[in-house]
Structures are given as C-alpha cells and as structure tokens.
Amino acid sequence: MLSGGDMLIRALRDEGVTTVFGYPGGAALHIYDAIFRQQDVKHILVRHEQAATHAADAYSRSTGEVGTVLVTSGPGATNAITGIATAYMDSIPMVVLSGQVVSERIGEDAFQETDMVGISRPIVKHSFMVRDARDIPEVVKKAYYIARTGRPGPVVIDIPKDITNPFDTYPYEYPEKVKIRSYTPATRGHAGQIKKAVQLMLDAKRPVIYAGGGVVQGNGSELLTDIARKLNYPVTNTLMGLGAYPGSDRQFLGMLGMHGTYEANMAMHHADAILAVGARFDDRVTNAVNKFCPNAKIIHIDVDPASISKTVTADIPIVGAVDSVLSEMLALILESEQKPDASAVKNWWEQIDEWRDNHGIYTAPRYDNSGEKIMPQDVIKTLHEVTGGDAYITSDVGQHQMFAAQYYLFDKPRRWINSGGLGTMGFGLPAAMGVQMAHRDAVVACVTGEGSIQMCIEELSALKQYHLPVKIICLNNQALGMVRQWQDMQYDSRYSESLYEDSLPDFIKLMDAYGHVGIRVTKKEELKAKMEECFAMKDRVVFMDIAVDTSEHVYPMQIAGASMRDMWLSKTERT
C-alpha cells in the first residue's frame, strides 16, 4: 500500500526514470518527502524552474530518453512555461509534474494557485490533472507514452496536494502496457508513396537531401547517411538536424536557411528533387515560400501529418516514422536495377564544388581575421580543434549560436543541443547541466554570449552542488550581437537597447564567487593555449570570457522576402 506521493515516485522508477530536475515548494512537499525516502530516482535541485525544464529537455536531446521535471504550483509552474514551450517547438519528449493546490481549493485563488493545465495548453502535446490517487500509475504511464511516441513533445501532469498526502494509501501496480483509443501515432509509411519517392530520387538530375531534427529524434541518422552515400547525393541539415549527417563529410553542404551556407542554399534553389526528412519547412529555412525552390519536386517524410504541406506543398507526402520509412527506401534503392544518373550527378557535384570554391565558408575563411581582434568564427574553430570535434555543444541564442552551428562540424547526432524553434536565450547553461548529468564523463561545452548567459546564470550554483564540470565558452562582444546586427542592417545602426553601457559583470570574479574557474582571453595568439588549459581542467567548471570582435556579423544571411539563393555574403557583398 502506497500513498499518492510514493506511488508517483515509484511509477517514475518503474518507467525507467533515473533523473528528475526540479525545485520544491508547498504543493509539492508530499512528493519531495517521497523522493527523500528512496534511492532510485535522483533529484537535481536547480536554482530556477526554467532551468529545470531546459536541463530535462537537454537530457532528453542528448540521450533520446524522456526528460522529467518536478515543480510546485503557482510560480513554480509558470517559471517552467518557457522551458515547456522550448521543448514543444523542437518536439522534445518531456514530462512535467507540477504540484497544485488541494482539490477543494482549486478555483478559489488559493495561495500559489495557477491554472497550470490552462496556461500550458497551447505548448504541450497533452496534459493531465490527477483527480484520484489511484489513477497515478496509469496517468504516468500514459504521459510517458504520449511524450515519446509519434511526434514527441512535452506532457504536463498537474497533481493537487491532497492526492499525494501520506495518510491515504492504496495498492500499487504499474501497468505494463497502455492503450489510448484516440491516439495512434503513425508508424510505417505508405508503401506506394515510398516507391514513388525512390523513383523520383533515382530519376533526379539535381537532387538534394534536406534533413531536420526529426532525423535526430527519430534515430534515422545512420539510415539517412547510408542512403546519401549509396546515391552520392548532397545533404544539407537544418539547425535542428545538425549531426544527423556527418558534418565533416564531403557530401555535406552545411546548414541551410537564413544563416545557411552559400552552397546549401544555392543547391536547394536549383534542385530538381528534394528529399525532406523530419524537417518542417520553417520560415527560417524557406525564406519567401512563394519563391522557394521553383524547379523542385518535393518528397516530404514526417511522422506528423500536420507538418506536411503546412507551408510548402509536398509532391510526394509520406507520413511515417523516419527510421521505418528510410529503411524501406534504402531497401528499395539497394534492390533497384536503376542507378542514379551518374553523369547528371557528376555535373551537379561540379556545380556545387564551384559554389563552394567561390563562397563556401569551409573552403576558405570568408571573414577578415588578419587584424588584432579575435574573430568569433575562429573561437568555434579552435573549440572544434581542442575538443577533437567530439564534445556535446549546447548553445544559447544569437550570433554565437549561428557561429557554432556553422563552424562546429557535428559528426554525430545528439551532440548539438540548442533551442531552434523557440529561440530561448538562457537555454545553454542549464542544457549543459542536463547533458552532463546524462553523460558524466563526456566533454560538455556551452557556447554562449555575455547576454544569454545572464539569463540562467544562477545555475552555476547547481553545477557546483552536483560536480558537473561543464565548460562555458562565452563570445563576449559587449552587445546583444544578433539584435545589433539587425540594427546595423535594417535600422541604420541605431542600437536601441542592445548595449550595456559598461554594466557587464566581471565574469572572472563571478566565477570565483561561485567556486569555479574563470579565464579571460583578450589576445588572439593566446586563444588556443587558454582553451586547452580550460579543457584540461576536467573536474572544474570553467568559464572562458573571450573578447571577440564587437562589430562582426553572421554571414551568409538570406535577404528577407526573397528566394533561397538571395543572400548577403558579407557587409558589402550580396548574390
């Protein structure tokens, strides 16, 4: 016989949950007492509930398991909202347990009461309010099932305090299976459509494979790589898809979209066949939809039917799990007598190589690093070199995020952890905490800026408590860089509220106060040595405050309202 609180934690254990990120408070105290009295589920005490959601989210992104969050009612719940929205936009499986005021007080504006189910409704895949303690095992089972299947997403379980009270106990049994009659996520794709898709790809003269976060989430990276190599077709990844195809491979064109590479955007624009896998034709990818890839037939594979033809109409839509569809495609390609048109593909590669030679960011530096200043791009290249390209990289949001996406060539999936859809500043540091919790011996670095890092900087304290030696690579350009870039390009350099007027903290002293190590880098020639010094301190949190060129912009940058191929290539040069 178990109380509701004990049942909840037992159910988490039986679901295979080992780590919960959270913060206690009144309505959750019965649950916290249940946590105290067991060893199976480890709780990580964050310093702000937003960080709990980001940490659980990144834990999930780096492992493929469902992240788990526990917060109290009212402000605990509302603080979790930004992180839930972040996970929702990037389709990350997560379960958020929120305490609620006792059942009979609900609706009376009780202390720390907020309608969590209502507030979170537009940013969750589903939510539950527990009304009877006996329902806890089934609700937990359903929540994890919903969160991780189909198109994954966050699920909220709101639990009134009386439900978890220690006095009422019930028999406990965790269900082995769950069936929800109104929920049947897509699995296999339509065989006829898959056949048509393979035919279109084999007939293509100028094919491109465009892969998104769904390939990472859907464990389709190896299959995608096999297909691309078998066909010798070029691959581009979205921001969320980086690592789905090896970044250092010859067939990889780099990221596409607003800050995508010249060759990726040009190849997309001129393609005659596009295989879109687990990507959603986001506005940061397509630029103006009516000018998007005018000559291409589009195959769109997605587990979510609502993603298909949402913004760009698919010629061959395939609803299904990415791994299942790709393995069927690969089998058909292997058994097909028809091979890709070798001469057409050769011509296509010659064209792509010409684009690379002319403006590609990997064939030569397309920024001026001849001066005294440290260029942000060089920081990322040095980071790649020092970590052997094998670190988990989390990032915040802004210029540093784009530089990291462009220059840290991810060879494996689940190594690049960033807030793509929502663009949540403050994500990076708690995300690094979540990743390090999941991979205690791995190298985890958070690429951030002096703006973003201040949004969840309080987690330096949690990193200390749990001995999580993440490395923080701060590209300090003394400004909200991406805001300032747009102000340079569109507002005649009127820097409205993007500068701090000498108010930045001394990050080195701050690190000292938290019991961590701070390293300041101001000279170009000392960058690499200091970064090596940073990563040599394997058991310490180290913050590298790197003074980078304050005026640098991220390029290429697509020109708004135009097609994929219309880009600024530098401050003065455009296509």
Binding site: G118, R121, P122, R181, S182, A306
Partner: protein, 163 residues
C-alpha cells in the same frame, strides 16, 4: 467556403478547451459550436462550423486529429449530409403584428411555444440559411432576443461516425 466538421471526442474535463484553444491559437475561425455527450457517455459529439479554403480546412482537420482527446472526425460538407439548427426567438407581437408574425411562423414551419399579451416565443428548426431568412422576414424592429443552438449535422446514408 463554409464547412461543418463533426468531432467524436473523449467526454473528459479539458477536452473542449483543447479544441477551442486550437482554433484561437492557430487563428482559425469558429462560426458555431455545439457539443453534448453521445449515447456512449464516455464520448462527446462536437459539431463546429468554420470558414476556410481547402488548405486551411486540411490543416484544421489535421490539427484536430492530433489532439489526444479527439477520437475521430469528419468534414460533413465533403458529402451528402443533413444539417439542423434550432432557434428560439422572442418577438414583439401586439395588435396587427400578431397575425402577421403568426403567418410568417407558419410559412417557415415554426412553432409558437410561449405567448403573452405582447410577445411570442417562436421555435424554428432548419438549416442556418433558413433561420437567417426567418430573421430577415420578421425584421429587426420586432426582435427582442435570439438564441441559436449552433449547427448539428449527420452524414446521409450508410456513413457512420462512431468508434
């Protein structure tokens, strides 16, 4: 184009708010909405009318289907169907008006369900167009209050929306 979408969903707390929330969240329009439990009390039947082109309606039905509480749905306007709406209307009916309004009710096959010395309450059932036409015939000057149920609908013939 006006569409009637009929939804079979779990009769559970919060189900309706998810459907309504979806429409406001994604900028879709709801013209009318009616919901009640079915003969199986674990299920509710919700009928809504909305306006949009094919692309928008496709998105609406896909997103509705994604809601965990939605079991099944059908766009009734895709095939032959019957639609009905009930309207209760309170009108001024004094002097010469009384006979005039009574005649109008008869023409529209409505019923007078309550009478006082100075007013009628009329019940009319039919398609939304018919109800609109009746309101026009009676005229704004006599109308005191109008209550419409929203559209309910069912497919003609063999087609059944059930588990």
């Amino acid at each position: 184009m006006r569409r009637i979408i009929s939804v079979l969903m779990e009769n559970a707390p919060g189900s309706l708010s998810r459907v309504v929330g979806l429409f406001s969240q994604r900028g879709y329009n709801i013209e009318s909405l009616t919901v009640a439990p079915t003969e199986d009390e674990t299920l509710s039947r919700l009928t809504l009318t909305t306006i949009g082109d094919d692309h928008k309606i496709e998105q609406i039905t896909k997103h509705l289907n994604k809601l965990i509480d939605v079991v099944k749905l059908v766009d009734l306007t895709e095939g032959a169907h019957i639609e009905r709406e009930v309207m209760l209307i309170k009108v001024k009916a004094a002097g010469a008006q009384r006979a005039e309004i009574k005649r109008c009710v008869d023409i529209f096959r409505g019923q007078i369900v309550d009478v006082t010395a100075s007013l009628y309450i009329i019940q009319i059932t039919g398609t939304s167009d018919k109800l609109d036409a009746f309101l026009q015939a009676v005229g704004d000057a006599s109308i005191l209050e109008v209550v419409r149920s929203g559209v309910s609908g069912i497919a003609r013939g063999e087609k059944v929306l059930s588990l």
